[in-house]
Symmetry: C2
Subunit: 449 residues, 2 copies
């Protein structure tokens, strides 16, 4: 994509490359640096990075992946590290410190003044997925006695290093939040209006220990671009901005996709992950599910007698088991997603069961019918065989869909992540039920055993 | 949740209920109205809605689900409809018009002035998932000759009805985009600076026909809160704001979750969907996958001879097939997600294959070993049987992972949505391969046939 720049670097035309990339946006420069690291190595990337103007380099740094950030940190001087750390927004700095090795963090903290150091330590202590770990401290705080004009004046003096100035926060002496004033309101109102007259006192806020999934819902519901975070005493401790939320949403979704495919979640991108990491992500659930399918085999073993008499029963087995698994997975996915986006609540469990029963009847009849026609008319098998397979299929779909719809809700109720109850696990469970239903029915209807 | 308000309405204390809900944020009022509709019916909700102050009612309206919007539209006068349509932001209005029945749309358009009507028709023509269908026309346009002070003055006069004033757009006479000025820059710069001096001319923009997935990537990459949209002649035609993007991200993810669970995607929430809609979402793929599993059955049928001789082979079948399906699903999910977030590209296909081969070897050896120990030592089966099953398992995992990792990329290359290539389809395909490998190996190694 940026072959010319790569070529310039290979030909050691560093100044030319530098001037070229400075025509790009900081996010693009970060992307180019990632390419340089991947294609021709970290050394050239560091040379290029150090040639950037300082105010740009810290911005670019914040757009880099944490792997690349670490590699660059390892290649630059302590003084340069210190500069970057000082220039980063507080939330980006916390993210970086969380990734850095302890000795580097210690060195950085030793050069930071005491007040900031205490703040950093407090932020590092918030749980990973909490509001506290997402927030930044660079917000504009105003007093309600100010006029709109004074507030704008204050912004001009103090706003430069704030992550967002588009929502300003009005606090009392105890740093308790009294109201918010969007910059829009400030601009559009008369100069001499007092903030107490124009501020919005019906403030929506979250607590520092709230889970990030809740934060996502709040942003979605209210269409905010920033959200205040308070501590237990309702004092404002930080704000969360929407650009970070966009990343968190994708991260939460990726986690759900991975859990729903029987993977141990990992935030590392696929192409960046080593073979052993990928294997470790996959083996645990494959083992668990393997044991479940061994149990299915044991059940089949119990019916060896009827199997040996009607060996063709085996040929319908993949269809009955497969359809059961797929039918259950459909239901569980809809319910898991419904809970994730806040549509389905724990108390809806009986609604879900009732709905799944009715849907199963429709789906079950449709599929059993198709199947009966195929086995009896097209394949020319006996009617009793066609009936056995079709009735099994109907009962398997019914139980799979009820189980698939219910288990995620029960999981959430007892504190297990519902995403676990997706396709692989549901399919394993329905396999057990499928073979039981199928062989019991076969034993009864085919009159053997 | 809002039981008191529901009770007030049931006791016909409408004014009291109105005063109570007016203490809430507009998004909350919309949520309460949804509850009223669900719990005591649309009539009471409409009475309450009509009692809201007009400026609040249109805001509340924009937060309602499209089903509730339609129900309310059906219960209020044409004049009230007209008022709401006029007050909605342009993008919300377009969304509403897309949902309304044709005769209502016609009535509304007949009362709209010609210029706006043409604009509406143009917007209605954009493809559903395009940038054009997401954008709004309420943005601030400035001229580069203005000073910062003049620009702010202009904002004070024209900014009220703009969806965002936080990013302003500088255009030439031909409405071609020359630069952007964040409000932040305007506020923080000297009053008499010309916009041409402070505007950012390296503007990132998208085209009206770009797909919304690309738009999401742009927002994620650059941390924007608004993004300009241009037409083929590079004229600014609208802007997209981040609050809409947050909704689009969740919508795209929901679509992927559904496709990956063999569901025909539907935007309707689970609890709002009727039984027949849910059945229609599920039957098509279940039928397709059923036929694939019938094929698996046919293959098993070909090996009836060896099966009848070694009936215990059946008991290992669920484990071999199940593990193959799960192993393939893990790989396909990682690759599908990797492509969705822009990590994996079409050209990475050989990297993916090579990585999957190596991961399969690690995973395959681990699982086969566990399996061998179980069958030979714990279960006391013959060594040749343990070896047959374990070797099959290894080969099945290897092929499943390579197929699971490759098919999504191939799908994308030929223009099929890669999300289709997820668990159910991959599992069906690997089933075919699993039974073939298993029975061929059994025939050879167990020396029968």
């Amino acid at each position: 994509m940026h072959d010319e720049i790569i070529q310039m670097l290979q030909e050691k035309q560093f100044s030319k490359a530098r001037n070229e990339i400075l025509t790009y946006n900081e996010a693009d420069i970060a992307e180019i640096l990632e390419e340089v690291i991947a294609d021709i190595g970290i050394e050239k990337a560091i040379i290029l990075f150090r040639m950037l103007p300082k105010d740009i380099s810290s911005d670019v740094f914040s757009f880099l992946s944490s792997e690349s950030q670490l590699e660059i940190i390892n290649g630059i001087t302590d003084k340069e590290i210190q500069y970057i750390v000082d220039e980063l927004y507080f939330d980006d700095m916390i993210d970086l410190l969380e990734e850095l090795p302890a000795n580097v963090v210690k060195k950085i903290l030793s050069r930071t003044d005491k007040e900031k150091r205490n703040l950093i330590n407090q932020f590092l202590a918030y749980p990973v997925d909490s509001a506290g770990s997402l927030m930044t401290i660079e917000y504009v705080d105003l007093k309600k006695e100010m006029t709109a004009k004074e507030a704008i004046q204050y912004l001009k003096q103090h706003g430069v290093s704030k992550e967002t100035i588009y929502t300003c926060y009005v606090m009392d002496e105890g740093r308790r939040l009294e109201g918010i004033v969007p910059l829009r309101t400030l601009i559009l109102s008369d100069d001499d209006k007092k903030l107490s007259e124009i501020m919005n006192t019906d403030v929506i806020y979250v607590h520092a220990h709230d889970d990030q999934e809740e934060i996502i819902r709040v942003f979605q519901k209210y269409d905010f671009i920033a959200l205040p975070v308070v501590d237990k005493e309702n004092r404002l401790v930080g704000i969360i901005t929407i650009d970070d939320i966009v990343d968190v949403i994708e991260q939460e979704n990726t986690e759900d996709f991975q859990k729903m495919a029987a993977l141990v979640p990992s935030e590392k991108l696929y192409l960046d992950s080593g073979v052993l990491l990928l294997a470790r992500q996959r083996i645990p659930w494959l083992l668990i599910l393997m044991f479940s399918s061994i149990l299915t085999g044991v059940i089949i073993g119990k019916f060896e007698l009827i199997l040996s008499q009607v060996i063709s029963l085996v040929t319908f087995l993949p269809m009955v088991m497969g359809t059961g698994g797929n039918a259950g997975a459909q239901s569980s996915t809809l319910v898991i997603r419904g809970m994730a986006v806040g549509d389905i609540r724990l108390t809806d469990i009986f609604w879900v069961i009732w709905k799944e029963i009715r849907v199963s009847v429709v789906v079950g009849i449709a599929l059993s019918l198709v199947n009966f026609i195929r086995i009896y008319w097209l394949q020319g098998d006996s009617m009793i065989m066609a009936f056995t397979v079709s009735l099994s299929l109907f009962l398997v779909i019914l139980s799979a869909k009820v189980i698939g719809g219910t288990l995620p809700i029960i999981a959430k109720k007892i504190g297990i992540d519902p995403a676990i109850m997706a396709n692989p696990l549901i399919a394993s469970l329905t396999d057990l039920i499928s073979v039981t239903i199928y062989f019991v029915l076969a034993t009864i209807l085919l009159g053997i055993g």
